[in-house]
Amino acid sequence: MASDKVKHISDADFAAVISSAQPCLVDFWAPWCGPCKALGPVIDEVADHFAGKAVIAKMNVDDNPVTPGKFGIRAIPTMILFKNGQLINQITGATAKAQIIDLVNKAL
């Protein structure tokens, strides 16, 4: 089951979402990317884990070309962690749940 705790964001609300004082992880993905789709359930579990403590968001790079362009994203899945609008860290490639949780934990 897809988690309702994952926030689906777009170019339009990106800036507002990442300006949050809570850490915000954005998973950049696309429907044609197998590893991105397979990472979906992992992101869902991460979102459940951080419910209320961090924002876990997803952005479809096909529908939202501006933000990925701004961050020079040439590979997906890429996850970027923000806090107060600042880029804190970035991981590229399908990643284990524990590693993603670790990354967000460090920014709490």
Partner: protein, 313 residues
């Protein structure tokens, strides 16, 4: 208290692990499959599979793995998402699996299906440009290189197949191979050699990936020592694999120098009750079809082993 002991634990949810899960579930073994991240394994990294029987038109890597997972789930395969960070194989007692959340599971029999991951090229610039032009996955990243030029490093099945796929997006694909001929299957070679958008550079190695903020060129060094620079915006690396063996007791399992685990024809390792299947095994052919076959064989070996335990206990 949560259950902590199983008759059988399967590590990894790629083709080998999911097939083992299907067989274990159908055998009604008391089992658990542990996958650390995305279910499906390396197959997810490929756009199209043309050599897995039963799909006359071929099938996308993602769809194939989703079907394998669904089939195992239909028979109530039991699985969790967790990283098995350490495996202990005591001489007499149950096998111990340490998970990343600090918990511990034990089992009577174990099937290792942790597979492998892509090798790095190990050249300057590779780490710096990861995600900024350097890639190990055509199906993930190909569309970012529309009308650009890309280099592919390698000459095996994966490299040649992915080079062919990348021509859907890239203006030109330059395949750089250290030998003077390809190792890929003949049909794969024929298609690639006839593709006007693939240029082959033989007897050469990429010795650096260059650029400022993004990839701008590769430095190519030929066997005769001649160095040239080719402008490209992307570099795709397909030069073999490294086993996912972190946390496994490699000495105990008598892993080979590459870190792969030797098994007999029944997929048994040298440790009683421990089987291995798929790309983690020391073997020559690493394909989906034999990974699945080995996953099935490993469960049947686990069942035989479990039967001997019942006799002695």
């Amino acid at each position: 208290m949560a259950k902590t002991h199983y008759q059988l634990i399967i590590l990894g949810g790629g083709p080998a692990g999911l097939t083992a899960g299907l067989y274990a579930a159908r055998a009604r073994l008391d089992h658990l499959l542990i996958e650390k991240g995305a279910t499906g394994g390396q197959v997810l990294n490929t756009h199209w599979i043309d050599n897995y029987p039963g799909f006359p038109e071929g099938i996308s890597g993602f769809d194939l793995m989703e079907k394998m997972a669904a089939q195992a789930k239909r028979f109530e395969m039991n699985s969790i998402m967790n990283d098995a960070v350490k495996v202990e194989l005591p001489e007499k007692a149950a096998k111990i699996i340490h998970l990343d959340d600090g918990s511990r599971l034990t089992c009577d029999s174990l099937i290792i299906c942790t597979g492998a991951h892509a090798n790095n090229a190990g050249v300057p610039g590779e780490d710096r440009f990861l995600g900024k032009g350097v890639s190990y996955c055509g199906t993930c990243d190909g569309p970012f290189f529309r009308n650009l030029d890309v280099a592919v490093i390698g000459g095996g099945n994966t490299a040649v197949q992915e080079a062919e796929y990348l021509t859907k997006f890239a203006r030109k694909v330059i395949l750089i191979h250290r030998r003077d001929s390809l190792r890929a299957a003949k049909v794969v070679q024929e298609k690639a050699l006839a593709n006007p958008n693939i240029e082959f550079i033989w007897n050469s190695r990429v010795t650096a990936i260059c650029g400022d903020k993004e990839v701008e060129a590769v430095e190519v060094t030929a066997t005769d020592g001649q160095v040239s620079r080719r402008p490209v915006q992307g570099v795709f690396v397909f030069i073999g694999i490294t086993p996912n063996n972190a946390g496994l007791p490699l000495d105990r399992l008598r892993a080979d120098v590459g870190g792969f685990i030797p098994v007999d024809t029944e997929c048994r390792t040298c440790v009683p009750g421990v089987m291995a299947a798929g790309d983690i095994c020391a073997k020559k052919v690493r394909q989906i079809v034999n990974a699945c076959g080995e996953g099935a064989v490993a469960v049947l070996s686990a069942e035989s082993y479990l039967a001997t335990l019942e006799h002695t206990s």
